[in-house]
């Protein structure tokens, strides 16, 4: 995960925190509380040093669409790919993953995700296309990481 990106709670994330009964493991809940929309991943890692597997928890929160990257120093999530299109929670989740895994190189992948149709089949096809794009032009290891996380995100019910 890019240590310089700033993470913010999505409306879903805020909603989950406001309802105690929500099915969210304690580790994820604690990690979600720490996400303040101002701290970078690097800073959050220091704040959450006591939480086991903190980075994995952040990744999980992004996959669940509860947290999304926003541009560092920006005024709001409107600049972040994760919030440019609110077509569906799946879109937001995939955009968040792309941003967190690829950082500033996520632009082309984000565009592909934004253009994808709303069904899971269409999104699954776009994940495969993004995987190939990342593998060919960005980074082979990150391509695997993105595909794995994206498939997991698409397999969830939102």
């Amino acid at each position: 995960m890019d240590p310089h990106i700033v993470l913010a709670k999505t409306p879903q994330g805020v909603e989950v925190l406001s309802h105690r009964g929500h099915d969210l493991p304690r580790t994820l809940r604690h990690a979600l509380i720490l996400v303040d929309g101002r701290s970078t991943v690097d800073e959050l890692e220091k704040k959450g040093a006591i939480i086991p597997e903190f980075l994995a928890a952040l990744r999980e929160l992004i996959t669940r669409g509860l947290v999304a990257p926003r541009s560092a120093g920006g005024m709001g999530a409107a600049k972040s790919p994760a919030s440019r299109v609110a077509a569906s929670p799946y879109h937001r989740s995939l955009l968040g993953l792309a941003e967190s895994i690829l950082g500033e190189r996520s632009e082309k992948v984000a565009r592909k995700i934004e253009e994808a149709g709303p069904s899971r089949e269409e999104l699954a096809a776009v994940v495969d296309a993004c995987y190939k794009l990342i593998r060919l032009t960005i980074d082979e290891a990150k391509a695997e990481q993105f595909r794995e996380a994206a498939r997991e995100a698409l397999s969830r019910d939102v």
């Binding site: 190189r105 032009t137 960005i138 980074d139 082979e140």
Partner: protein
């Protein structure tokens, strides 16, 4: 003034090679890594080498024949390596897209 076809061809080759150099360098930022990005760096190095080699060709008449032969054979060798890398890259891209 005597018209020398080889000089004209050499100058054309140098111009084409400079265009190629501009292409590889300007496209590089779009391909930071991955299967293509890794190979792109090697191809860029080879294009720089060819550009330098091609720049020498108009002066072949001034160089000792032994040196000329070495330069030409080196250009041929690296040209062959360039072709192998390009063919393998195209094949890998096809494999990735078909897979």
């Amino acid at each position: 003034m005597k018209f020398d076809v080889s000089i004209v061809v050499s100058v054309l080759a140098i111009l084409v090679m400079f265009y190629c150099l501009w292409l590889v360098l300007s496209l590089r930022k779009n391909i930071p890594g991955g299967v293509v990005g890794g190979t792109w760096k090697t191809l860029t190095s080879l294009v720089i080498l060819f550009t330098l080699g091609y720049l020498v060709t108009p002066f072949f008449g001034l160089l000792p024949p032994v040196l000329t032969n070495v330069i030409v054979s080196l250009i041929f060798l690296f040209g062959a390596i360039y072709v192998v890398i390009t063919v393998k890259l195209i094949y890998r891209i096809i494999e990735e897209l078909a897979g």
